[in-house]
């Protein structure tokens, strides 16, 4: 075959942030195949230096609009760790509920608005609004439900106001929670419709497998989102404070974001990594959804991350109902967030939609932030995306340039990368 195929996608569409695909296949040989991150660096770790303890979460929330709740909660937990501040059971339950809201919101945004067009053969969701009106309305309703949930618990869908160091500034009323509970139950019908819609087109997801390491939080009592230790499908459990030894961030010339590796050349984080590590702790409904797609651990097809997100939507809806029941059974106390400021250093981790997130801060006696580090999920995935490129492109190199381009775009999209998040991570 004497031809040169060049696939250059500048700014991959339907992902958050700016990344490029650069592939050259000459005479049937892959000569170049790169995933490049070209997002403008933003330098958050420097920006929080010199700011007060109650401002760090406000600032780092702005790392990402889609996962601002996750950044806020991770930041609050890290500050609380640094200052030995304990939070109540009520705060913990409410934060878990808020995190569920964000996971549903982010996952449905990804699966419904960004991935579904690939499955239905459309360039975007906009033409689907007329050609597949009912399907789009299912997606819109689930998205709206998750945003109502964020509004109610966090005070805003993006950059939440209520969660603060030590607790919340305002609590929902029992009546509001009961209404939300009913809405979550109603959401199950839309979830079923979504599952059926994706199942009917799941054959469009490429069959590609590459063994890799999956890293996520793990908790003894629950499917870990809000808390846990670091774990890996290669074996091992580590306390969160050891995160720099897990992430091993390094710089590569093609990217303004750092890459990561642990046991192998790369690892994956996100819904599929969580499912691969904690499948047994999924709610019954979530397991049933996984079975519809024959998704069992350990699954090494990155395209199945899309499906793992649907499984997690089911889990968050069902577990959200359980959490509301627990909160209502305990009764909502109008407690005030309390924080005694002192010097210290603390790291914390939360599973946010795209995977395991770490924040670490150091504060002085006056509660001024003197040092910060944030390790973002997408950063940890960049290396794995690159390794998938190197494995998948040779397998499909004889297809047309258009087909290769679409498949590689779908691969990038499957990771649900949050690229603006990922371009400001550090080691010192």
């Amino acid at each position: 075959m004497n031809e040169t195929k060049t696939i250059q996608v500048k700014h991959v569409t339907r992902v958050e942030g700016h990344g490029n695909i650069d592939i050259t296949i000459k005479d049937g040989q892959v000569q170049n195949c790169q995933w490049k991150v070209v997002e403008a660096p933003r330098f958050f770790e420097a920006m929080v230096r010199g700011r007060k303890w109650f401002e760090t979460a406000h600032i780092t929330s702005r790392i990402c609009g889609i996962c601002s709740i996750g950044h806020t909660l991770t930041s609050l937990k890290a500050t609380e760790k640094a200052m030995d501040i304990a939070v109540s059971k009520q705060t913990e339950n409410m934060r878990k509920l808020l995190l569920h809201a964000e996971n549903i919101q982010s996952h449905i945004l990804h699966v419904g608005y960004l991935v579904l067009p690939d499955l239905l053969g459309a360039p975007s969701v906009f033409p689907l609004a007329s050609s597949h009106r009912n399907e789009v309305l299912v997606v819109v309703r689930l998205h709206q439900l998750s945003n109502e949930m964020s509004d109610l618990i966090g005070g805003r869908t993006t950059h939440p106001q209520r969660p603060v160091v030590g607790g919340f500034t305002k609590w929902p009323t029992p009546m509001e929670l009961k209404k939300l509970r009913a809405r979550l139950e109603d959401g199950m019908a839309d979830l079923d419709a979504l599952v059926e819609l994706v199942r009917a087109h799941a054959d469009r997801l490429p069959h590609f497998e590459r063994e890799t390491e999956f890293i996520a939080l793990k908790h003894p009592n629950e499917y870990a989102f809000y808390d846990g230790d670091i774990t890996s499908t290669d074996g091992g459990t580590w306390p969160v404070k050891n995160y720099p030894k897990i992430c091993n961030e390094f710089l590569v010339p093609q990217s303004t974001a750092k890459f990561s590796k642990h046991n192998r050349e790369s690892y994956m984080v996100g819904a599929l990594a969580r499912l691969n590590n904690s499948y047994q702790q999924l709610s019954p409904k979530a397991k049933a959804v996984a079975e519809v797609f024959s998704l069992q651990p350990v699954n090494c097809n990155p395209f199945m991350n899309n499906v793992a997100q649907i499984v997690e939507i089911a889990h968050c809806l069902e577990d959200g109902i359980q959490l509301i029941d627990a909160i209502l059974a305990d009764g909502i106390v109008d407690e005030q967030a309390a924080a005694a400021v002192k010097a210290g250093k603390g790291a914390a981790s939360v599973e946010v939609p795209r995977g395991i997130l770490f924040h670490e801060y150091e504060y002085d006696d006056a509660g001024i932030c003197t040092w910060a580090n944030c390790v973002i999920p997408t950063n940890q995935n960049h290396g794995n995306i690159q390794k998938d490129f190197e494995s998948l492109v040779p397998q499909i190199k004889d297809r047309s340039a258009e087909e290769i381009e679409l498949t590689m775009e779908m691969l990038v999209r499957a990771y649900d990368p949050c690229i603006s998040c990922s371009t400001h991570c550090i080691f010192i």
Binding site: P41, E45, K52, S68, R162, H424
Partner: protein
């Protein structure tokens, strides 16, 4: 009648303002019945350069981004800065208070020279901007109001009175009464005083009203025994660009 062609673009930002447009939910379906969305990288693969209205999110943080913004300006009849990063410089400008080499070294260590950056700035520091929708994130109703005005051929208006006005209408207890230094007296309204309503205080994300009454702000601080530095630090959160690095 031809529908106006609308495009969305972003520079350094969290893309949270474009997310608010997705968050219009069913109203978004109504919006797209009245406009043709011809470019929206975060949501669609299609792209065309013949847009009438460009909404641009994010601040400009490196020289190499200027040409892309200038092209957008040339293509667009109307260019709208979407959100505080685009309209004011926003939170990205916090880095302007440090020496840039220090900032880069903090994040990228000894490989710092590979990572281009300069002082973060709003769009209007690079190209003329027709209208601004401030906010971190933008208010969804305000976005819809501005878009409706544009579609009707009217000049969009956003409030030029302080957050305190809306805060009173909301019936909130004043943040100062709760012992919190608040930016409400000098910050542009339009958010429904949402942060104060949720138990926090105004962070000043929408920037200042024109001709803010800084004397009154100082009087309030004195009345409640608060330090002017408390406000100064907050002022820098979103409107730092107006202070340094022009």
């Amino acid at each position: 009648m031809n529908k106006p062609k609308v495009a969305f673009f972003d520079f350094a930002s969290c893309e949270g303002c474009q997310l608010q447009i997705v968050n219009l939910e069913a109203d978004l379906l109504a919006v797209i019945e009245h406009v043709d969305v011809v470019s929206f990288r975060e949501a669609m693969k299609e792209h065309r350069d013949d847009y009438d209205i460009a909404f641009v999110e994010g601040s400009i943080t490196r020289r190499s981004d200027e040409s892309r913004l200038k092209t957008i300006r040339e293509n667009a009849g109307t260019l709208i800065a979407l959100g505080s990063c685009a309209a004011l410089g926003g939170i990205n400008c916090l880095k302007n208070f440090f020496e840039l080499d220090y900032v880069r070294e903090t994040v990228y260590g000894d490989r710092t020279m590979n990572y281009e950056t300069y002082a973060a700035r709003p769009l209007k520091a690079v190209v003329p901007v027709d209208f601004e929708i401030p906010g971190c994130p933008i208010s969804r109703p305000e976005f819809v109001r501005v878009l409706k005005s544009l579609l009707l051929g009217k000049k969009p208006e956003i409030p030029n009175y302080p957050v305190c006005v809306e805060c009173k209408i909301e019936g909130n207890i004043c943040a100062f009464e709760r012992g919190m230094p608040c930016m409400g007296p000098i910050t542009r309204a339009g958010c429904g005083a949402t942060c104060i309503k949720e138990g926090s205080f105004c962070w000043g994300c929408r920037g200042m009203v024109e001709d803010p009454n800084t004397d009154a702000q100082r009087d309030i601080l004195n009345k409640y025994g608060l330090d002017v530095n408390d406000i100064f630090g907050k002022f820098r959160l979103y409107t730092g660009y107006s202070e340094v690095a022009k």
